[in-house]
Symmetry: C2
Subunit: 406 residues, 2 copies
């Protein structure tokens, strides 16, 4: 760090792949992450997928001397997995949980249970107010037929809106995390364009690391090679983004990624590569103002593209809402027929019971089960439709605002 008007900030970002009982060599890797972080002494450390609070506490214990301030963002059944370690005091925090995050019945994917969120911590360093955001968006399990794209776009939009609305008093905004989107994806263009955030990889004066800045690479022994087949170099889905709001400028002096193994070892930190940025923050005479990063007409196209995808998701959600509703009604009708038959037998209208007792009971239980399940799903899809409609409307409002700008 230099005088009052200039500051070098070293930021570390990593998706830790810390799924209890599932992630390979988890405890060993958490130890390793702690060792390297202690040795390297960054200013800010942004970690995702620290699902186990025990892992967080171990890191906290180990890093207490070097990073005396930290925060763990709790949400959802499993947790948000997000945490921050900082050399500088954390003044305030806020958590915003995304309104859509996959489906509870997609147990094999599990995103729904994580309560994916964006966490904000406010930090003051040498008189400069930083709003630091950390997030992890819904994973992409199949790029060709990505059923989660509308949800991820809702998340990207909510992330952008949350940053815009909460960062107005900040001098500098930082966002780090696993966005689960490639650099050219509509969600990234939406987020960057709507917030004015710059991509540290694109802006870096000096870069050292995987080709194209990739953070999920075939060379890493923990990655799924089949998934990366269409991308021989790997993909870039972990980002450090930044912007100055008031009378400061931010430049990325250096960006590094790990390259398949942690520094000085033969095992990786995680299945993701770490991203490490050195930012140079400098006071300038004039306030930067809150401008879009993308020209209005281009931005309008991006919002329209995102809105179309959200619209596709909305149609699918409406179909699901309908089919689960119909299923619930059919199960209810079946139950009513059974109740009528049972009642008929009881009052002696029918001499014989229409079914053997066992089949009758099994059928009743099946109908009750289907009724409960279909009703729960129907309620879920009602909410999904509402949130997609809400996002579509917000995007429409944004488009109007863009078109009305002089």
């Amino acid at each position: 760090m230099e005088g009052d008007s200039s500051l070098h900030l070293r930021v570390f970002d990593l998706n830790c792949w810390g799924i209890r009982y599932l992630s390979k060599r988890r405890q060993e890797r958490v130890e390793l992450i702690g060792d390297v972080l202690r040795r390297e002494g960054f200013d800010l450390v942004l970690l995702q997928e620290v699902w186990s609070e025990q892992d967080y506490n171990n890191l906290k214990g180990k890093l207490g001397g070097c990073y005396p301030f930290c925060h763990y963002f709790r949400s959802g059944v499993i947790g948000s997995g997000l945490c921050i370690f900082s050399r500088f005091p954390i003044l305030d925090t806020l958590l915003y949980q995304y309104s859509l995050n996959g489906y509870p019945y997609m147990l094999q994917h599990g995103d729904w249970f994580c309560g994916k969120s964006v966490g904000l911590v406010v930090i003051k360093i040498s008189g400069i107010l930083f709003n630091v955001y950390i997030t992890h968006l819904h994973a992409e399990y199949c790029r060709e037929k990505d059923a989660y794209l509308p949800h991820r776009l809702v998340q990207a939009w909510e992330l952008a809106q949350f940053i815009r609305h909460t960062s107005k008093a900040a001098d500098v905004v930082l966002l780090g995390g696993d966005l689960n989107m490639h650099p050219e994806d509509v969600g990234i263009r939406l987020l960057r364009g709507w917030t004015g955030l710059q991509d540290a990889f694109v802006e870096a004066t000096h870069f050292e690391g995987c080709e194209d800045g990739c953070t999920l690479i075939p060379k890493n022994c923990f990655t799924d090679k089949a998934e990366l087949l269409p991308f021989p170099l790997g993909i870039r889905i972990d980002y450090i983004l930044y912007k100055a709001i008031s009378s400061f400028t931010v430049k990325c002096k250096e960006l590094k990624t790990t390259m398949g193994t942690a520094p000085g070892t033969d095992i990786p930190f995680s299945d993701h590569e770490a991203v490490m940025a050195t930012l140079h923050i400098k006071k300038q005479g004039q306030a930067a103002g809150d401008t879009l990063a993308t020209a209005e007409p281009v931005m309008a196209d991006v919002v329209t593209e995102a809105q179309t995808e959200v619209g596709v998701g909305l149609q699918a959600a409406q179909r699901q809402r309908y089919s689960t509703g119909r299923m619930a009604v059919l199960a209810l009708l079946l139950l009513l027929v059974q109740a009528t038959a049972a009642l008929g037998t009881l009052v002696g209208l029918s001499t014989e019971q229409p079914f053997p007792k066992l089949s009758f009971s099994l059928l009743t239980f099946a109908a009750i089960g289907i009724l409960l399940l279909a009703t729960s799903l129907h309620l879920f899809h009602i909410t999904e439709v509402k949130m997609l409609q809400g996002t579509e409307e917000q995007m429409r409002m944004a488009l109007r605002a863009l078109q009305e700008r002089p």
Copy 2:
């Protein structure tokens, strides 16, 4: 409205009691609300419990001429019920859904299904930037033994934090809504103290309406008289709160409430009374700055009191988490015993089936049902524990900040 540096703003706030099929004379009252709003020509109208989107659309159609700008906040299964009508353009919106909001199994109360939220709309009037917040917190069903107090306190805290973090660029902050808290309740003191918001009823130069500003009164023909027995005058749970952030002052010139019937009719708008404020906003030389409304030591006491209540809720949630977990394990064990018995019969180890087929199947279905139910509840209570812990920690951080202030 006067010159550039002074503005009179007329704000209308009402909980509309618009529950489809349940609220009495709903459509007639919505018509009436629309008629009066059109006639009176307020600047801003904040409505809660507009659960039916059809009702919102009817109001929108009717009020289009007088209030050309409006927004409906969608969330949850039933909806947030929140909407805003404005004479001035709405520049931006954001919705924050509270992380806790009652229990899905409390069907008779239903709050969980509403997705209770705070909505923000940004409006510029005569060059003054307004952040207008609208909300509706969890209802209080039994004041003596209020099981929802911890959840309502989490909501009050999240509301305060959301307002603090999103309002930093605003000139004036307005909050209207049904807070379901009496003026002296800890949640109101927490919200007001932590945000610096002032209570229009307390500050009003001129007041006209129900005694003590009550908004739920025995005189209203739709209120539950038994519930209001301990409060012969009624209770005040609907508020208009405000503060100036930058170089403006806000004064409440006049506050009115309806008194059991809508103006010029013999039926009420709702089971709640409407609150109508005339605010006078004036430019002053100096910026107001972001200060607490309550002195630090008093504020620390309020946060401590709130934290204690959240702690009580946390203990209850932990007990529920434990007992639902135990129930799930017991159901699983029962299923395992049954599976063993069934397997034993199948491979011929036991000559006779231990139970008659029908009882055996019924028991199996009951065990499966209990397992599913207990597991769902267990997951729910895990989330509840996490959110209560998160809030407790944020409050601890706030206390530290309060104690460290010079």
